[in-house]
Assembly symmetry: C2
Protein backbone atom coordinates (compact mmCIF):
# COMPACT_ATOMS: atom_id res chain seq x y z
CA UNK A 1 0.00 0.00 0.00
CA UNK A 2 3.03 2.26 0.04
CA UNK A 3 3.90 4.68 -2.73
CA UNK A 4 6.49 2.34 -4.19
CA UNK A 5 4.09 -0.50 -4.86
CA UNK A 6 3.22 0.17 -8.45
CA UNK A 7 5.68 1.82 -10.80
CA UNK A 8 5.41 5.51 -9.96
CA UNK A 9 5.37 7.94 -12.83
CA UNK A 10 8.82 9.46 -13.26
CA UNK A 11 9.36 13.04 -12.10
CA UNK A 12 9.76 14.48 -15.60
CA UNK A 13 7.67 13.97 -18.71
CA UNK A 14 10.86 13.30 -20.60
CA UNK A 15 11.72 10.26 -18.48
CA UNK A 16 8.16 9.04 -18.57
CA UNK A 17 8.10 9.26 -22.35
CA UNK A 18 11.50 7.60 -22.58
CA UNK A 19 10.35 4.59 -20.59
CA UNK A 20 7.09 4.39 -22.51
CA UNK A 21 8.79 4.34 -25.90
CA UNK A 22 11.31 1.79 -24.70
CA UNK A 23 8.50 -0.40 -23.45
CA UNK A 24 6.59 0.05 -26.68
CA UNK A 25 9.61 -1.00 -28.73
CA UNK A 26 10.55 -4.01 -26.61
CA UNK A 27 6.95 -5.13 -26.39
CA UNK A 28 6.50 -4.92 -30.13
CA UNK A 29 3.86 -2.21 -29.92
CA UNK A 30 6.22 -0.11 -32.00
CA UNK A 31 7.77 -2.35 -34.61
CA UNK A 32 11.10 -2.07 -36.38
CA UNK A 33 10.78 0.20 -39.38
CA UNK A 34 7.78 2.06 -38.00
CA UNK A 35 7.99 5.83 -38.36
CA UNK A 36 7.41 7.84 -35.20
CA UNK A 37 5.00 10.71 -35.69
CA UNK A 38 5.77 13.19 -32.98
CA UNK A 39 2.38 14.85 -32.82
CA UNK A 40 0.46 11.60 -32.64
CA UNK A 41 2.75 9.96 -30.09
CA UNK A 42 2.92 13.06 -27.91
CA UNK A 43 -0.87 13.30 -27.89
CA UNK A 44 -1.18 9.60 -27.09
CA UNK A 45 1.17 9.94 -24.14
CA UNK A 46 -0.40 13.18 -23.00
CA UNK A 47 2.68 15.38 -23.28
CA UNK A 48 3.91 17.99 -25.69
CA UNK A 49 6.46 17.35 -28.40
CA UNK A 50 9.34 18.97 -26.52
CA UNK A 51 9.99 16.22 -23.94
CA UNK A 52 9.19 13.62 -26.58
CA UNK A 53 11.89 14.95 -28.86
CA UNK A 54 14.46 14.95 -26.08
CA UNK A 55 13.60 11.35 -25.26
CA UNK A 56 13.96 10.46 -28.92
CA UNK A 57 17.40 12.05 -28.98
CA UNK A 58 18.43 9.75 -26.14
CA UNK A 59 17.07 6.73 -27.97
CA UNK A 60 18.86 7.84 -31.11
CA UNK A 61 22.11 7.86 -29.17
CA UNK A 62 21.35 4.36 -27.97
CA UNK A 63 20.69 3.22 -31.52
CA UNK A 64 17.07 2.27 -30.89
CA UNK A 65 15.66 4.84 -33.27
CA UNK A 66 17.07 6.43 -36.39
CA UNK A 67 16.77 10.07 -37.27
CA UNK A 68 16.97 12.07 -40.47
CA UNK A 69 16.72 15.84 -40.63
CA UNK A 70 13.25 17.06 -41.54
CA UNK A 71 12.13 13.49 -41.92
CA UNK A 72 11.89 12.55 -38.29
CA UNK A 73 12.45 9.43 -36.27
CA UNK A 74 11.75 5.78 -36.89
CA UNK A 75 12.27 2.52 -35.03
CA UNK A 76 15.45 0.91 -36.33
CA UNK A 77 15.19 -2.58 -37.69
CA UNK A 78 18.22 -4.73 -37.12
CA UNK A 79 19.45 -7.25 -39.61
CA UNK A 80 20.89 -10.57 -38.49
CA UNK A 81 24.30 -9.10 -39.34
CA UNK A 82 23.63 -6.25 -36.93
CA UNK A 83 22.67 -8.69 -34.20
CA UNK A 84 25.77 -10.78 -34.77
CA UNK A 85 27.86 -7.64 -34.57
CA UNK A 86 26.27 -6.57 -31.30
CA UNK A 87 26.87 -9.99 -29.78
CA UNK A 88 30.46 -10.02 -30.98
CA UNK A 89 31.16 -6.65 -29.37
CA UNK A 90 29.46 -7.84 -26.20
CA UNK A 91 31.75 -10.86 -26.22
CA UNK A 92 34.79 -8.59 -26.24
CA UNK A 93 33.57 -6.14 -23.63
CA UNK A 94 31.91 -8.59 -21.26
CA UNK A 95 35.02 -10.75 -21.18
CA UNK A 96 36.99 -7.72 -20.03
CA UNK A 97 34.36 -6.88 -17.43
CA UNK A 98 34.45 -10.40 -16.00
CA UNK A 99 38.24 -10.50 -15.94
CA UNK A 100 38.33 -7.28 -13.98
CA UNK A 101 35.45 -8.28 -11.75
CA UNK A 102 36.99 -11.59 -10.72
CA UNK A 103 39.76 -9.89 -8.81
CA UNK A 104 37.35 -7.53 -7.05
CA UNK A 105 34.54 -9.93 -6.21
CA UNK A 106 33.73 -9.99 -2.50
CA UNK A 107 31.81 -12.68 -0.68
CA UNK A 108 28.97 -10.21 -0.39
CA UNK A 109 28.96 -9.77 -4.17
CA UNK A 110 28.74 -13.52 -4.66
CA UNK A 111 25.89 -13.71 -2.18
CA UNK A 112 24.05 -10.98 -4.06
CA UNK A 113 24.54 -12.81 -7.34
CA UNK A 114 23.21 -16.01 -5.77
CA UNK A 115 20.19 -14.16 -4.47
CA UNK A 116 19.53 -12.55 -7.85
CA UNK A 117 19.86 -15.91 -9.58
CA UNK A 118 17.26 -17.34 -7.18
CA UNK A 119 15.04 -14.48 -8.35
CA UNK A 120 15.66 -15.45 -11.98
CA UNK A 121 14.63 -19.01 -11.19
CA UNK A 122 11.54 -17.95 -9.25
CA UNK A 123 10.38 -15.78 -12.14
CA UNK A 124 11.06 -18.61 -14.57
CA UNK A 125 9.04 -21.10 -12.54
CA UNK A 126 6.20 -18.61 -12.24
CA UNK A 127 6.21 -18.19 -16.02
CA UNK A 128 6.87 -14.47 -15.58
CA UNK A 129 8.79 -13.87 -18.80
CA UNK A 130 9.23 -10.11 -18.36
CA UNK A 131 10.28 -10.59 -14.75
CA UNK A 132 12.80 -13.22 -15.74
CA UNK A 133 14.29 -10.98 -18.42
CA UNK A 134 14.61 -8.17 -15.86
CA UNK A 135 16.21 -10.45 -13.27
CA UNK A 136 18.57 -11.86 -15.90
CA UNK A 137 19.64 -8.35 -16.68
CA UNK A 138 20.26 -7.64 -13.01
CA UNK A 139 22.35 -10.80 -12.74
CA UNK A 140 24.65 -9.87 -15.59
CA UNK A 141 25.03 -6.19 -14.75
CA UNK A 142 25.59 -6.84 -11.08
CA UNK A 143 28.54 -8.93 -12.17
CA UNK A 144 29.76 -6.40 -14.73
CA UNK A 145 29.59 -3.56 -12.23
CA UNK A 146 32.00 -5.40 -9.98
CA UNK A 147 34.63 -4.65 -12.63
CA UNK A 148 34.89 -1.11 -11.31
CA UNK A 149 34.81 0.15 -14.91
CA UNK A 150 31.68 2.27 -15.20
CA UNK A 151 32.31 3.29 -18.81
CA UNK A 152 32.77 -0.28 -19.86
CA UNK A 153 29.47 -1.13 -18.21
CA UNK A 154 27.83 1.79 -19.99
CA UNK A 155 28.92 0.49 -23.37
CA UNK A 156 27.74 -3.00 -22.55
CA UNK A 157 24.40 -1.55 -21.47
CA UNK A 158 24.09 0.26 -24.80
CA UNK A 159 24.62 -3.03 -26.58
CA UNK A 160 22.02 -4.82 -24.50
CA UNK A 161 19.49 -2.08 -25.06
CA UNK A 162 20.02 -2.17 -28.81
CA UNK A 163 18.72 -5.74 -28.91
CA UNK A 164 16.00 -5.45 -26.30
CA UNK A 165 13.35 -5.74 -28.97
CA UNK A 166 14.69 -9.15 -29.92
CA UNK A 167 15.44 -10.56 -26.48
CA UNK A 168 11.83 -11.31 -25.68
CA UNK A 169 11.88 -13.87 -28.49
CA UNK A 170 14.42 -15.88 -26.57
CA UNK A 171 12.70 -15.80 -23.22
CA UNK A 172 9.33 -16.75 -24.58
CA UNK A 173 10.63 -20.29 -25.11
CA UNK A 174 10.53 -22.50 -22.02
CA UNK A 175 13.55 -24.57 -22.96
CA UNK A 176 15.66 -21.45 -23.38
CA UNK A 177 14.59 -20.30 -19.94
CA UNK A 178 15.81 -23.55 -18.39
CA UNK A 179 19.05 -23.29 -20.30
CA UNK A 180 19.59 -19.77 -18.95
CA UNK A 181 19.41 -21.06 -15.42
CA UNK A 182 21.87 -23.89 -16.08
CA UNK A 183 24.31 -21.44 -17.63
CA UNK A 184 23.94 -18.93 -14.82
CA UNK A 185 24.66 -21.69 -12.33
CA UNK A 186 27.78 -22.66 -14.28
CA UNK A 187 28.89 -19.03 -14.32
CA UNK A 188 28.34 -18.72 -10.58
CA UNK A 189 30.39 -21.85 -9.93
CA UNK A 190 33.26 -20.45 -11.98
CA UNK A 191 33.04 -17.16 -10.11
CA UNK A 192 33.20 -18.99 -6.78
CA UNK A 193 36.35 -20.70 -8.05
CA UNK A 194 37.73 -17.35 -9.19
CA UNK A 195 38.18 -18.91 -12.60
CA UNK A 196 37.81 -15.98 -14.99
CA UNK A 197 38.32 -17.94 -18.20
CA UNK A 198 35.75 -20.53 -17.21
CA UNK A 199 33.23 -17.84 -16.33
CA UNK A 200 33.88 -16.10 -19.64
CA UNK A 201 33.52 -19.35 -21.56
CA UNK A 202 30.23 -19.98 -19.81
CA UNK A 203 28.93 -16.53 -20.72
CA UNK A 204 30.15 -16.95 -24.29
CA UNK A 205 28.12 -20.11 -24.55
CA UNK A 206 25.16 -18.30 -23.03
CA UNK A 207 25.40 -15.66 -25.75
CA UNK A 208 25.99 -18.15 -28.55
CA UNK A 209 22.72 -19.88 -27.72
CA UNK A 210 20.89 -16.58 -27.89
CA UNK A 211 22.41 -15.87 -31.29
CA UNK A 212 21.49 -19.33 -32.52
CA UNK A 213 17.92 -18.82 -31.39
CA UNK A 214 17.81 -15.49 -33.19
CA UNK A 215 19.24 -17.04 -36.37
CA UNK A 216 16.45 -19.57 -36.26
CA UNK A 217 13.78 -16.94 -35.65
CA UNK A 218 15.18 -14.85 -38.49
CA UNK A 219 15.29 -17.68 -40.99
CA UNK A 220 11.70 -18.58 -40.13
CA UNK A 221 10.61 -15.00 -40.52
CA UNK A 222 12.26 -14.50 -43.90
CA UNK A 223 10.90 -17.84 -45.03
CA UNK A 224 7.40 -16.76 -44.04
CA UNK A 225 7.50 -13.41 -45.82
CA UNK A 226 10.20 -13.42 -48.47
CA UNK A 227 9.20 -10.04 -49.86
CA UNK A 228 9.66 -7.60 -46.99
Amino acid sequence: MTAGDRPRRPPTAQQFVLEEIRRAITSGELRPGDPIRQDALAAELGVSRVPLREALKILEGEGLVAYRVHRGYGVVSLSMDDLREVYRIRELLEAEAVRRAIGELTAADLDRLEEIQRGVERAGEAGDVAGMAAANRRFHFTLFECSGMPRLVRHIRLLWEATDAYRSLYYSDGENRQRVNREHRATLAALHDRDAEKAIASLDEHRAHAVAALELAFSEETAAKPGQ
Copy 2:
Protein backbone atom coordinates in the same frame (compact mmCIF):
# COMPACT_ATOMS: atom_id res chain seq x y z
CA MET B 1 35.44 31.30 -53.59
CA THR B 2 32.73 28.66 -53.77
CA ALA B 3 30.18 28.03 -51.06
CA GLY B 4 32.13 25.11 -49.69
CA ASP B 5 35.28 27.04 -48.98
CA ARG B 6 34.69 27.97 -45.37
CA PRO B 7 32.72 25.66 -43.08
CA ARG B 8 29.13 26.32 -44.01
CA ARG B 9 26.64 26.66 -41.22
CA PRO B 10 24.77 23.37 -40.78
CA PRO B 11 21.17 23.21 -41.99
CA THR B 12 19.64 23.01 -38.53
CA ALA B 13 20.33 25.09 -35.45
CA GLN B 14 20.63 21.88 -33.49
CA GLN B 15 23.60 20.68 -35.55
CA PHE B 16 25.18 24.10 -35.47
CA VAL B 17 24.92 24.24 -31.70
CA LEU B 18 26.20 20.69 -31.40
CA GLU B 19 29.35 21.49 -33.35
CA GLU B 20 29.87 24.74 -31.46
CA ILE B 21 29.66 23.10 -28.04
CA ARG B 22 31.94 20.30 -29.16
CA ARG B 23 34.44 22.85 -30.41
CA ALA B 24 34.14 24.85 -27.21
CA ILE B 25 34.84 21.77 -25.10
CA THR B 26 37.76 20.49 -27.15
CA SER B 27 39.28 23.96 -27.41
CA GLY B 28 39.07 24.46 -23.68
CA GLU B 29 36.65 27.37 -23.96
CA LEU B 30 34.28 25.27 -21.89
CA ARG B 31 36.31 23.54 -19.23
CA PRO B 32 35.64 20.27 -17.41
CA GLY B 33 33.38 20.89 -14.47
CA ASP B 34 31.85 24.03 -15.91
CA PRO B 35 28.07 24.23 -15.62
CA ILE B 36 26.20 24.97 -18.82
CA ARG B 37 23.57 27.69 -18.41
CA GLN B 38 21.07 27.13 -21.16
CA ASP B 39 19.77 30.68 -21.42
CA ALA B 40 23.20 32.25 -21.57
CA LEU B 41 24.65 29.77 -24.04
CA ALA B 42 21.59 29.88 -26.28
CA ALA B 43 21.73 33.67 -26.36
CA GLU B 44 25.45 33.59 -27.10
CA LEU B 45 24.93 31.24 -30.02
CA GLY B 46 21.89 33.13 -31.25
CA VAL B 47 19.38 30.28 -30.97
CA SER B 48 16.59 29.37 -28.59
CA ARG B 49 16.94 26.81 -25.83
CA VAL B 50 15.05 24.08 -27.70
CA PRO B 51 17.76 23.11 -30.21
CA LEU B 52 20.39 23.67 -27.54
CA ARG B 53 18.75 21.16 -25.25
CA GLU B 54 18.53 18.56 -27.98
CA ALA B 55 22.20 19.03 -28.77
CA LEU B 56 23.01 18.64 -25.09
CA LYS B 57 21.07 15.39 -24.99
CA ILE B 58 23.28 14.07 -27.78
CA LEU B 59 26.39 15.15 -25.93
CA GLU B 60 25.06 13.53 -22.79
CA GLY B 61 24.73 10.27 -24.66
CA GLU B 62 28.32 10.64 -25.81
CA GLY B 63 29.44 11.23 -22.26
CA LEU B 64 30.79 14.73 -22.93
CA VAL B 65 28.35 16.43 -20.61
CA ALA B 66 26.57 15.23 -17.49
CA TYR B 67 22.96 15.92 -16.66
CA ARG B 68 20.90 15.95 -13.52
CA VAL B 69 17.17 16.59 -13.45
CA HIS B 70 16.28 20.18 -12.62
CA ARG B 71 19.94 20.93 -12.15
CA GLY B 72 21.00 21.05 -15.76
CA TYR B 73 24.07 20.12 -17.72
CA GLY B 74 27.77 20.45 -17.03
CA VAL B 75 30.98 19.56 -18.82
CA VAL B 76 32.23 16.26 -17.46
CA SER B 77 35.68 16.17 -16.01
CA LEU B 78 37.51 12.91 -16.48
CA SER B 79 39.86 11.45 -13.95
CA MET B 80 43.03 9.67 -15.01
CA ASP B 81 41.22 6.43 -14.16
CA ASP B 82 38.48 7.38 -16.61
CA LEU B 83 41.04 8.06 -19.32
CA ARG B 84 42.80 4.76 -18.69
CA GLU B 85 39.46 3.00 -18.90
CA VAL B 86 38.60 4.66 -22.22
CA TYR B 87 41.95 3.70 -23.69
CA ARG B 88 41.61 0.13 -22.45
CA ILE B 89 38.21 -0.25 -24.10
CA ARG B 90 39.60 1.29 -27.27
CA GLU B 91 42.36 -1.30 -27.21
CA LEU B 92 39.80 -4.09 -27.18
CA LEU B 93 37.51 -2.66 -29.84
CA GLU B 94 40.13 -1.27 -32.18
CA ALA B 95 41.96 -4.59 -32.22
CA GLU B 96 38.78 -6.25 -33.38
CA ALA B 97 38.22 -3.57 -36.01
CA VAL B 98 41.72 -4.02 -37.40
CA ARG B 99 41.44 -7.80 -37.42
CA ARG B 100 38.24 -7.60 -39.43
CA ALA B 101 39.55 -4.85 -41.66
CA ILE B 102 42.70 -6.70 -42.66
CA GLY B 103 40.74 -9.30 -44.56
CA GLU B 104 38.64 -6.71 -46.37
CA LEU B 105 41.33 -4.13 -47.21
CA THR B 106 41.49 -3.37 -50.92
CA ALA B 107 44.39 -1.73 -52.74
CA ALA B 108 42.21 1.35 -53.04
CA ASP B 109 41.75 1.42 -49.27
CA LEU B 110 45.50 1.26 -48.76
CA ASP B 111 45.99 4.08 -51.25
CA ARG B 112 43.45 6.19 -49.42
CA LEU B 113 45.19 5.56 -46.12
CA GLU B 114 48.53 6.53 -47.66
CA GLU B 115 47.01 9.72 -49.00
CA ILE B 116 45.44 10.56 -45.64
CA GLN B 117 48.74 9.91 -43.89
CA ARG B 118 50.44 12.33 -46.28
CA GLY B 119 47.82 14.85 -45.16
CA VAL B 120 48.68 14.14 -41.52
CA GLU B 121 52.34 14.80 -42.25
CA ARG B 122 51.62 17.97 -44.24
CA ALA B 123 49.54 19.37 -41.37
CA GLY B 124 52.28 18.42 -38.92
CA GLU B 125 54.97 20.16 -40.93
CA ALA B 126 52.79 23.24 -41.28
CA GLY B 127 52.32 23.30 -37.51
CA ASP B 128 48.56 23.02 -37.96
CA VAL B 129 47.72 21.20 -34.74
CA ALA B 130 43.97 21.14 -35.22
CA GLY B 131 44.36 20.02 -38.82
CA MET B 132 46.71 17.25 -37.81
CA ALA B 133 44.31 16.01 -35.13
CA ALA B 134 41.51 15.96 -37.70
CA ALA B 135 43.64 14.12 -40.27
CA ASN B 136 44.79 11.65 -37.63
CA ARG B 137 41.17 10.95 -36.86
CA ARG B 138 40.43 10.36 -40.54
CA PHE B 139 43.36 7.98 -40.76
CA HIS B 140 42.19 5.80 -37.91
CA PHE B 141 38.51 5.79 -38.78
CA THR B 142 39.11 5.13 -42.44
CA LEU B 143 40.89 1.99 -41.30
CA PHE B 144 38.24 1.05 -38.75
CA GLU B 145 35.45 1.49 -41.28
CA CYS B 146 37.05 -1.14 -43.49
CA SER B 147 36.02 -3.65 -40.82
CA GLY B 148 32.49 -3.57 -42.18
CA MET B 149 31.21 -3.32 -38.59
CA PRO B 150 29.40 0.00 -38.35
CA ARG B 151 28.31 -0.48 -34.75
CA LEU B 152 31.80 -1.29 -33.65
CA VAL B 153 33.00 1.90 -35.33
CA ARG B 154 30.24 3.84 -33.60
CA HIS B 155 31.39 2.65 -30.19
CA ILE B 156 35.00 3.46 -31.00
CA ARG B 157 33.90 6.92 -32.12
CA LEU B 158 32.10 7.43 -28.81
CA LEU B 159 35.30 6.60 -26.98
CA TRP B 160 37.37 9.00 -29.06
CA GLU B 161 34.89 11.79 -28.56
CA ALA B 162 34.89 11.28 -24.81
CA THR B 163 38.56 12.22 -24.68
CA ASP B 164 38.59 14.93 -27.33
CA ALA B 165 39.12 17.56 -24.67
CA TYR B 166 42.36 15.89 -23.66
CA ARG B 167 43.71 14.97 -27.07
CA SER B 168 44.86 18.50 -27.88
CA LEU B 169 47.36 18.20 -25.02
CA TYR B 170 49.09 15.44 -26.91
CA TYR B 171 49.23 17.13 -30.27
CA SER B 172 50.52 20.41 -28.91
CA ASP B 173 53.89 18.74 -28.34
CA GLY B 174 56.12 18.60 -31.41
CA GLU B 175 57.87 15.40 -30.43
CA ASN B 176 54.56 13.61 -30.04
CA ARG B 177 53.54 14.78 -33.50
CA GLN B 178 56.64 13.23 -35.00
CA ARG B 179 56.05 10.04 -33.07
CA VAL B 180 52.51 9.85 -34.46
CA ASN B 181 53.84 9.88 -37.99
CA ARG B 182 56.40 7.16 -37.27
CA GLU B 183 53.71 4.99 -35.74
CA HIS B 184 51.27 5.58 -38.58
CA ARG B 185 53.98 4.55 -41.03
CA ALA B 186 54.59 1.38 -39.04
CA THR B 187 50.87 0.64 -39.03
CA LEU B 188 50.66 1.19 -42.78
CA ALA B 189 53.58 -1.16 -43.38
CA ALA B 190 51.87 -3.86 -41.31
CA LEU B 191 48.64 -3.33 -43.24
CA HIS B 192 50.47 -3.71 -46.54
CA ASP B 193 51.86 -6.99 -45.22
CA ARG B 194 48.35 -8.03 -44.12
CA ASP B 195 49.83 -8.61 -40.68
CA ALA B 196 46.93 -7.91 -38.33
CA GLU B 197 48.79 -8.59 -35.11
CA LYS B 198 51.66 -6.31 -36.07
CA ALA B 199 49.23 -3.53 -37.00
CA ILE B 200 47.41 -3.99 -33.70
CA ALA B 201 50.67 -3.94 -31.76
CA SER B 202 51.62 -0.75 -33.51
CA LEU B 203 48.33 0.91 -32.65
CA ASP B 204 48.59 -0.33 -29.07
CA GLU B 205 51.95 1.37 -28.80
CA HIS B 206 50.46 4.50 -30.34
CA ARG B 207 47.79 4.55 -27.66
CA ALA B 208 50.16 3.71 -24.83
CA HIS B 209 52.22 6.79 -25.65
CA ALA B 210 49.14 8.95 -25.56
CA VAL B 211 48.23 7.54 -22.15
CA ALA B 212 51.75 8.10 -20.88
CA ALA B 213 51.63 11.71 -22.05
CA LEU B 214 48.30 12.16 -20.28
CA GLU B 215 49.66 10.62 -17.08
CA LEU B 216 52.46 13.14 -17.17
CA ALA B 217 50.13 16.05 -17.83
CA PHE B 218 47.87 14.90 -15.01
CA SER B 219 50.66 14.50 -12.47
CA GLU B 220 51.91 17.99 -13.32
CA GLU B 221 48.46 19.42 -13.00
CA THR B 222 47.74 17.86 -9.63
CA ALA B 223 51.20 18.87 -8.44
CA ALA B 224 50.50 22.44 -9.50
CA LYS B 225 47.17 22.72 -7.74
CA PRO B 226 46.81 20.06 -5.06
CA GLY B 227 43.59 21.48 -3.68
CA GLN B 228 41.16 21.26 -6.57
